[in-house]
């Protein structure tokens, strides 16, 4: 799960990591903007930052005005700049050409920067451990720096049982060539950052740039954070980080009924499978046969009747759906529960497109019998190749 910059900085702050003072404005009204800006009274300039779940905002531009997603402005003009960002579409190198609409704007104090660094903690699945990355070339793309100047990037694994050790933190502080108070601040910041990483169940925390101010202190000027969806059960605050504006509406609807494995795609055959691997293999197979999937939907092998119904409802009402393909290999999941889900949904939503079901495994005969009794116009087989060929052919014929 991605979180916004202002939320990530809120988390950092709660772990005593210094961040510039800032206020997030979530409502485009003159009173909300005025209230927020009152906190910056007496400061000549502020930074206005569009909040979207994508990086590259400073170098990005608004479709409507051509201006940047991060702007340094005089405080007296800040209200107009903030109001002007709301509802506008920001295009960055990470959003794709369509861009993202801005629904939240973060205003922060300005910081007099002496030097910029890069710092991140992430999970390296190939090495199966947390990894710390640091560079004294902050503010730019770390992957490019790693390629062109590998000596400028320090990368080392952290033992997940021991956590980040002071000697490791010192290596970073020496890389940054810090001295005196800033050196000690850096050690403390790194140890706190690792605590935040573990305690927040983060998969990634990237501070880019971390800056040394002209006053000689460290400050996290920007932060990108990804949290582990699996750790929801022990973090009540994860719900508050969810932003429906940042999610595909159908993906959000699927999530609301406990289907976490829905991904919208650009084809026209709606797919439902009971397993991630089987779901991916289904997309590949359709593609080989000349069909294109409209989505990936893995209901899992333990789906309830309600989740199955919700899954079918999502598939059937999608405007792009020209055919429905169901691929079930029941291990725990009974096939007749899936069939019952389709029958229940078609009582309220008409089945207007071709539908093919491949049923195998747990209670496939019961599923088949139930489907035949229902009289629904569904082609059913246990042969996956035949099933896939049929839906591709029928979807094309129905065009």
């Amino acid at each position: 799960m991605n979180v916004h910059e202002y939320q990530a900085k809120g988390l950092l702050k709660s772990f005593h990591i210094p961040v510039p003072f800032g206020v997030c404005i979530e409502e485009n009204t003159s009173s909300a903007i005025a209230t927020a800006l009152r906190a910056f009274k007496g400061r000549p300039k502020v930074v206005v930052k569009a909040q979207i779940h994508a990086g590259g905002r400073g170098k990005g531009h608004f479709k409507e005005s051509g201006t940047s997603g991060v702007r340094l402005v005089e405080t007296e003009h800040a209200a107009e700049v903030v109001a002007d960002m709301f509802g506008k579409t920001l295009v960055t190198n990470q959003t794709g050409a369509e861009g993202r609409v801005v629904h939240k704007v973060y205003v922060t104090e300005t910081v007099a920067v002496a030097r910029e660094f890069y710092l991140s903690l992430l999970i390296d699945r190939d090495r199966q451990c947390p990894v710390l990355m640091a560079s004294d070339s902050g503010g730019c793309d770390v992957e490019t720096v790693a390629q062109t100047h590998p000596e400028k990037v320090l990368t080392f694994p952290v033992d997940p049982l021991l956590g980040l050790q002071p000697f490791q933190a010192r290596r970073v502080a020496y890389l940054f060539q810090l001295i005196g108070e800033a050196f000690n601040e850096c050690i403390e910041l790194l140890l706190n950052l690792y605590r935040a990483f573990v305690a927040s169940d983060a998969c990634l925390i990237e501070i880019n740039p971390l800056v040394l101010t002209q006053e000689g202190h460290l400050s996290a000027l920007d932060c990108k954070m990804q949290l582990d969806d699996n750790a929801r059960f022990r973090h009540e605050n994860f719900v508050s980080f969810e932003d429906p504006n940042e999610t595909d509406p159908t993906e959000a609807e699927a999530k609301s009924v406990g289907i976490h494995n829905y991904v919208a795609l650009d084809g026209d055959i709606a797919c439902l499978a009971n397993g991630a691997g089987l779901g991916m293999a289904t997309l590949d197979l359709l593609d080989t046969l000349g069909g294109k999937a409209a989505n990936f939907l893995d209901i899992g092998d333990t789906a309830s009747a309600e989740q199955i119904e919700a899954g079918f409802r999502i598939l059937l009402k999608h405007p792009k759906t020209r055919g429905v393909f169901v691929n079930i290999f029941g291990g725990t999941l009974p096939c007749d529960r899936v069939v019952q889900g389709l029958i229940s949904v078609t009582e309220t939503v008409a089945l207007r497109v071709p539908c093919v079901m491949r049923l195998m495994g747990n209670r496939k005969d019961e599923g088949l019998a139930l489907l035949q009794r229902s009289g629904l116009p569904v082609f059913v087989t246990e042969d996956l190749t035949q099933a896939a060929e049929t839906i591709v052919r029928e979807t094309k014929a129905a065009l």
Binding site: A281, F329, G331
Partner: protein
């Protein structure tokens, strides 16, 4: 010989009194697995499935029934503790089906496993089966047939699919192992390949992979250098968009790494015959084995 589990294996089920624990242990018992006890904190002294004793701790179960396998069917919020309890009790094989373990927990478990006496299979997988001998997990009983093909897969449903195709075409299996779909798991492809290589019953191997990470590439290098037996491979996710998490927490393409193409090329370079589609697995096995 199968790998890691056999007819004589003594299995305990952690979480046996729960809904999943009862259902899965019933299915394993029906297959002939020797379940000698269960563990649920606070339920020590109870008896389930007629005659299987329940203990409150794994340590007590070890003293009383000497298990060599623990099957963990505990929901995610308690699964990490259950796995660590089994490792602490030095149970040689721990099979964890649980989906949704936080990755930080798995990092700690993974680190604890090295230097321990335990092998962990999973989490977020279907377990393993040695057809005709023993099953620990949820692989459907009726699709398996004893034979000489070893199968390893991250995905549970794709493992079922491969087993079903092989059985339909008359090719039985030595052992089928689901290593789990998470980014950090206890047992890697390489661990399973090593065991298959040393197992006299296993004459050939089917490896089913998917996008994300580099486990298949590492496996390919091992195959190239060490494997004496024919390997058939299939990789799911050729048509998956970059940066999207496809169900499995582990199945995600990031940048240029973890793509199906890189895995297929690495496996082919190691001499592995690749099935282009999931439906071709049985056919390629037939072609290779004759």
């Amino acid at each position: 010989m199968s790998i890691w589990i056999e007819q004589t294996s003594r299995v305990i089920v952690q979480g046996i009194t729960g809904c999943a624990g009862m259902m899965h242990s019933a299915s394993c018992l029906a297959y002939g697995t020797r379940i000698v006890g269960g563990v649920t904190p606070g339920k020590g002294g109870e008896v389930v499935h007629g005659n299987i004793p329940v203990f409150s701790t794994v340590a007590e179960a070890c003293v009383a029934v000497h298990p060599d396998i623990s099957f963990i069917a505990v929901p995610a919020p308690h699964a990490t503790d259950a796995v660590l309890e089994a490792i602490d009790a030095e149970i040689p094989l721990v099979v964890c089906l649980t989906e949704g373990l936080p990755v930080h927990d798995m990092l700690r478990i993974h680190r604890t496993l090295s230097g321990s006496r335990t092998r962990l299979i999973g989490p977020n997988g279907p377990g393993l089966i040695a057809p005709g001998k023993c099953k620990v997990g949820i692989i459907p009983n009726e699709i398996c047939k004893e034979g000489s093909v070893g199968i390893v897969s991250r995905s549970g449903t794709l493992l079922f699919e491969a087993i079903y195709q092989l059985t339909s075409m008359g090719y039985g299996q030595s052992t089928c192992v689901g290593i789990g779909g998470d980014p950090v798991v206890g047992t890697s492809y390489m661990d399973v390949l090593k065991a298959f290589n040393d197992d006299p019953q296993t004459k050939s191997i089917v490896l089913i992979g998917e996008i994300g990470g580099n486990a298949e590439e590492v496996a390919a290098e091992f195959i190239r250098q060490h494997l004496q037996k024919p390997v058939i491979g299939y990789i799911a996710g050729r048509r998956t968009p970059e940066g999207k998490r496809m169900g499995h927490a582990g199945a995600m393409i990031a940048g240029n790494t973890g793509t199906a193409l890189s895995k297929i090329q690495a496996l082919q370079a190691a001499g592995v015959e690749i099935a282009q589609n999931v439906t071709d697995i049985g056919g390629i096995v037939a072609k290779v084995l004759g």
